[in-house]
């Protein structure tokens, strides 16, 4: 289960970012922000070789001592980042993938909302619910 989930706009500013409340929120913001370095590098590397034949799931971006950071980029260059505790070895790649897929579906629903202004931070109860389901349950 994730400790932090973030949605980043095409222009790399955060649309949604949520982390477990027990830990330093700012630290997760930094972790997500720095992971964009790797995301950008991966996107540009793919852009050169395969064009639009890109897999959305980027896999493990980089491991830190405490966390594993996974990335996913939609075709419209919206990025999803999931941070998982390094000690959590039970999570398999497939589960991470399905988490991203769920996130993407829910994000698409948010975008389909005619009252949502694309580019604005996500304020959706449904999306919140999906994210909460993926987060480490505390308390």
């Amino acid at each position: 289960m994730a400790v932090c989930i973030a949605v980043i706009a095409k222009e790399n500013y955060p649309l949604y970012i949520r982390s477990v409340p027990t830990q330093n929120e700012l630290k997760f913001h930094y972790t997500v922000h720095t992971s964009l370095d790797v995301v950008e590098e991966k996107i540009s590397a793919v852009g050169k070789s395969l064009g639009d034949q890109r897999e959305l799931y980027l896999g493990l971006l980089y491991p830190t001592e405490d966390y594993k950071v996974y990335g996913y980029v939609t075709n419209s260059k919206v990025k999803f980042v999931i941070v998982v505790d390094s000690s959590n070895t039970s999570l398999r790649d497939n589960e991470i993938r399905s988490m991203f897929r769920k996130l993407h579906n829910s994000f698409t629903d948010v975008m389909c909302n005619p009252f949502h202004n694309p580019g604005d931070p996500i304020q959706s109860k449904a999306f919140d619910g999906i994210v909460s389901g993926m987060m480490v349950q505390t308390g």
Binding site: Y13, I17, L26, Y62
Partner: protein, 1078 residues
């Protein structure tokens, strides 16, 4: 030294090389010896064997060898590895001692010298008692030796010397001191290297032999020690593959040791050493992934081995060191050619090292309370001044029991370590590691990671109370977060920066950070914003602001006095803040009502201000700066007197400005630079002391302070330009376009000027083939221009109408665009100001040019039969057909033939002069047509069109025949026809003629005749025909043949003769008379 306790010992980090001691060399006073020593030392590049040489005196005392243990039964080891061991084998115990001795084979005092040499060897041997160190002798000789086997004296004496010194032949060397010193030295050192290899081999064997005496319960430490030693000797032997193998074994053994709180440090220290060696060798073997895997394993194994909780900072320090030294190894390998990638580079290890250093700092702050006094006597002192074993505690060296032997000593020892830790400059260490990491991430394209680390550095400087450096770093990275719009992170950085600015009492920075923290980019809570705004107002009204929360109390009191000093100065309180780099709490946007304005309209500019801060703010001046400074005076709002303008939180305030553009700005763009002079920013009831000018250069940032342009365009002309003409234009004609200009202005249009002609920017050829003139009385020549510029037409009163004719001559066909540009100036008033406006109106028209007519020409005989060739001297006809392609009637003046139809035909009767060479073609010349439009006035010029006639083929005929025939005959009235036959050749021609009978005629004359015609002369034949029938009748056919030359085609002659004649019926005399009477 800061943190020196955690530094890896240099003997661990160096590359082990075989140690060879050189004795008997006097490198200070003896030049020859000096040269030899230099040859050994200098240029030790990679191609030389890895040996470390040392010059030692002949009687040097080598470390004593302890007596060999025969049994390990009662032996209990006190630690894993002695601190001196590595150094001993690197620098103290040589693998080989070389004795240099000056002795030539033919030395006169050979005997004495031989025994002296033997004595010296003996001294060395005694000193090395018990060691396996080899001894070798090098004889320094002045003479070049003879090839081996030739010098009998030498071989004999060498044998005796070996004998005397108890040396094997392989250990005696000769070094002739000649020109090729370096060559000899290299050969010597290769030989030394072999001896050293043998030595280390025996050492490895010796250590291995201990193994059988060990048991697993008491000698666990020795297992590690021996494996380490074997590995180290292997390294000295340059057998890195085996060394790696033994180090790996040692590593797994070290983790098999029973670990408890008392020996945790020792285990970790040794594990760290061995791990370092393994990683180093892996990088050396170019298997970086093995190194990384080993390091990960090492960290995973050791991460939780914290040891004593009271000394938790030690674990953090050790962890930090592990990461740092791995980062350094990685970096070094990269310098030697390894390629790293974005997600796997030394930066991560430095970053993690910094992270552990931060942990260390935190734990040190928790565990090392201030106030404790340093215990006495010093518990960290040892008898030797250092430790015997790596990683042990000074107060209980050699103890391997689970519980500390002396609880009191343990307590004072820990206290001493804690107090020592307090003095460690943690921030310095952290910053150094972070800056290493920054350098790495910069290299591997991680700008955000770099920024993040720089923020950490800034925060660390803040903790270290170096606020200037902290601010510099934070300020540098702030804009990255601002442009990426990570407001949460930006707010966090700004908060730290604000604290720094407060503690430094830096007024301008303080104001800037306050303003940004109040702005919409800030994610601070409302109460925080309220507090900050209160502080900002305080500063602006020259009061000392309240301290920022979470600041160090001692720093706060220092800052307070700084602030009061600064406020007391109150000198130049004029601050200009360039807000394009910030997101201030007052948003400002400007907008022109329209993207362009006519010069006779007032330009309308709107400026919107909105405050994002929680309290209302007031200001007393708003000014706008435009690219033309003269307009600025119209765009100022200033509060009158004491009353200032205020902005309510969250409300947008609009200011309208309007001004008149200058006529010289027509066609230019005016740019707005918003210069919001919020002089006297403050709360409505506070008198501001600081005058803050917010200004922004809109050219640089369009994101927050909008850049704006307005285009000034010329006044709309009130004039009509009408063109009338009759398209299409005909090729070469003087095409008349009549321009009617009528003024609808209310005033007099002055200086009306017409520019007419071909619109520029079309095909370049059109410029050459188009001519424009105002003079329609004659056909213009090629010098007339394609465009007539600025024809002055004078003034135009209101409602007045002007008409001008422009003549265009188009030499080539095709479409052309013509431009008619009428420019004038007019006086007008805008908002009470008199301005002179220049107006212009453009009309364009596309005119197609066509050829007026097409001329076709054909040749026919006098009987209107088409001819494909013409005969010399015989008349023929030239017929021209002129087909009009013009939709307008044309007047062809030269023939005076006037046609309303489409075609005109002309006939010319021509005769071709005889030619010397027959059957050639001849040019028939040109055909000139003068014409004009029928509709044009009579005095308009005629246009000459020249048509080149086609070529015609000429032929000559030998005979020519023609007949004199009356134009008609009458039934039963005689009709005389005379045939003329001409000989056109230079020969006498015999001609046979016969007239064939005809039903329509009776005739008299020679029916068949043969006659001769002299050259150039003519014969006449007269026939009287008597027509029998009325109507068109075929004349009796005349057959002509040339019997002399039957080949000549006389048929062609027939075409010269008339074929038919019209015969009238018989006339009536009465009728004729009656007609005459009538």
């Amino acid at each position: 030294m800061a943190g020196s306790q955690w530094e890896l010992p240099p003997e661990l980090c160096c590359r082990p090389m075989a140690f060879v001691a050189l004795t008997g060399l006097d490198v200070v006073y003896n030049a020859v010896h000096r040269a030899i020593w230099d040859a050994f030392c200098a240029n030790r590049r990679a191609d030389r064997v890895p040996i470390s040489f040392k010059v030692l005196p002949g009687d040097h005392e080598y470390p004593k060898c302890r007596t060999k243990r025969t049994s390990y039964e009662w032996y209990i080891p006190k630690g894993i590895l002695k601190t001196g061991w590595m150094n001993k084998h690197l620098n103290l115990v040589p693998a080989l001692v070389v004795l240099f001795y000056e002795l030539d084979w033919d030395d006169p005092q050979w005997k004495e010298k031989q025994s002296e040499c033997a004595t010296k060897v003996e001294i060395v041997r005694t000193s090395l008692q018990g060691r396996n160190t080899k001894v070798a002798v090098v004889l320094i000789q002045k003479k070049t030796p003879l090839p081996p086997g030739e010098d009998l004296v030498a071989s004999e004496r060498a044998a005796t010397l070996c004998n005397a010194c108890d040396l094997s032949g392989k250990s005696l060397f000769v070094l002739p001191h000649t020109d090729h010193l370096v060559g000899y030295i290299i050969r010597l050192e290769n030989a030394f290297y072999e001896h050293a290899q043998t030595y280390y081999y025996t050492e490895i064997r010796r250590v291995k032999s201990h193994k059988e005496f060990l048991n697993k319960t008491t000698h666990q430490l020795l297992f590690v020690r021996h494996q380490f030693k074997i590995a180290f000797f292997s390294e000295l032997k340059q057998d890195t593959q085996n060394a790696l193998k033994y180090y790996r074994t040692a590593y797994s053994l070290v983790h098999e040791l029973r670990a408890h709180e008392t020996n945790m440090l020792e285990i970790k220290t040794m594990a760290g050493f061995i791990n370092y060696k393994i990683c180093r060798l892996c990088f050396q073997h170019n298997t970086p992934l093995d190194a990384i895997a080993q390091f990960r394993k090492h960290i995973d194994l050791c991460k939780k081995k914290i040891g004593s909780a009271e000394l938790a900072f030690e674990h953090a320090a050790w962890m930090s060191k592990q990461f740092q030294s791995f980062g350094e190894l990685f970096d070094e390998a990269i310098k030697l050619g390894l390629t790293a990638i974005q997600t796997q580079n030394p930066g991560f290890y430095y970053q993690q090292a910094a992270c552990y250093s931060q942990d260390r700092k935190q734990q040190a702050q928790q565990l090392c309370q201030a106030g404790a006094t340093y215990p006495s006597p010093e518990p960290l002192d040892t008898q030797s001044g250092g430790l015997d074993f790596y990683g042990q505690r000074p107060w209980r060296q050699g103890h391997q029991s689970i519980d500390p032997p002396d609880a009191e000593k343990e307590k004072t020892g820990i206290l001493a370590l804690q107090i020592k830790e307090r003095d460690v400059p943690h921030s310095e260490l952290i910053i150094a590691l972070l800056s290493n990491a920054v350098a790495q991430f910069k290299k591997y394209k991680c700008p955000r990671m770099k920024s993040h680390l720089m923020v950490q550095m800034g925060e660390e400087y803040y903790h270290a109370k170096d606020y200037t450096k902290a601010l510099k770093l934070l300020d540098y990275v702030m804009c990255d977060y601002r442009t990426e719009r990570w407001w949460g992170l930006l707010t966090a950085i700004l908060t730290t920066a604000l604290r720094c600015a407060y503690l430094m009492a830096s007024v301008k920075d303080y104001i800037i950070y306050c303003m940004e923290l109040l702005g919409r980019a800030s994610t601070l809570k409302e109460e925080q914003k309220l507090r900050i705004e209160k502080n900002l107002i305080k500063v602006l009204t020259n009061e000392v602001p309240d301290a920022e929360p979470e600041c160090d109390s001692s720093s706060v009191s220092a800052a307070k006095s700084l602030w009061s000093d600064r406020m007391a100065l109150a000198g130049s309180n004029e601050l200009t803040i360039e807000v394009q780099d910030y997101i201030p709490f007052i948003q400002c946007k400007a907008k022109f009502q329209s993207p362009s304005f006519h010069v006779d309209q007032p330009i309308q500019l709107q400026v919107f201000l909105r405050a994002d801060c929680p309290h209302p703010v007031s200001f007393n001046k708003l000014s706008v700066s435009l690219s033309n400074q003269e307009y600025n005076q119209w765009c100022v709002v200033e509060s009158s007197g004491q009353e200032s303008m205020s902005l309510l939180p969250g409300k947008t305030k609009r200011f309208n400005f309007s001004f008149v553009a200058k006529t010289e700005d027509v066609g230019k763009k005016i740019e707005v630079r918003l210069l919001l002079t919020v002089a006297g920013l403050g709360q409505p009831d506070h008198a501001a002391q600081y005058h803050v000018r917010l200004c922004s250069d809109t050219t640089q940032s369009e994101c927050y302070w909008r850049s704006l342009f307005v285009q000034i365009i010329s006044r709309v002309p009130k004039i009509s330009v009408q063109l009338s003409h009759q398209p299409p234009a005909l090729n070469n004609e003087m095409y008349c376009i009549s321009v009617t200009i009528q003024s609808q202005e209310e005033g007099v249009a002055k200086d009306v000027k017409l520019t007419a002609g071909l619109k520029p920017g079309q095909d370049a050829n059109l410029g050459q083939t188009t001519h424009v003139t105002l003079d329609g009385s004659k056909v213009c020549d090629d010098t007339a221009p394609a465009l007539l510029p600025d024809v002055p037409l004078g003034d135009l009163k209101p409602g007045e109408k002007l008409e001008w004719c422009v003549y265009v001559k188009c030499v080539s066909t095709g479409p052309r665009v013509f431009l008619f540009h009428v420019a004038y100036s007019i006086d007008t008033t805008v908002e009470g100001r008199q301005i002179v406006c220049k107006c212009h109106k453009d009309e364009t028209v596309t005119i197609e040019t066509v050829v007026p007519f097409e001329v076709s020409v054909k040749f026919v005989s006098t009987k209107f039969e088409p001819l494909d060739r013409v005969a010399v001297d015989i008349p023929f006809l030239l017929m021209t057909d002129i087909l009009s392609s013009s939709p307008w009637p044309l007047l062809l003046a030269s023939s005076s033939l006037q046609l309303t139809g489409e075609s005109a035909s002309e006939c010319f009767c021509l005769r071709c002069p005889p030619l010397t060479n027959s059957n050639s073609t001849v040019a028939t010349g040109q055909y000139l047509i003068s014409w004009r439009r029928y509709s044009s006035s009579a005095d308009s010029p005629l246009i000459q069109t020249t048509v080149t006639l086609p070529h015609v083929i000429l032929e000559s005929v030998p005979l020519y025949i023609h007949a004199d025939v009356p134009s008609f005959g009458r039934v039963r009235e005689s009709l005389s026809v005379r045939y003329h036959i001409e000989n056109r050749t230079a020969l006498v021609q015999e001609v046979e003629m016969a007239v064939e009978p005809s039903d329509a005629f009776m005739f008299s004359g020679l029916k068949q005749v043969r006659l001769r015609i002299l050259p150039g002369s003519e014969q006449q034949m007269l026939y009287n025909y008597y027509p029998l029938m009325a109507g068109y009748q075929t004349l009796p056919q005349l057959n002509i043949s040339l019997p002399r030359c039957p080949t000549t085609n006389t048929h062609t002659l027939r075409r010269f003769l008339p074929q038919r004649i019209f015969v009238k019926p018989q006339g009536r005399q009465v009728d004729d008379a009656s007609i005459a009477a009538a």
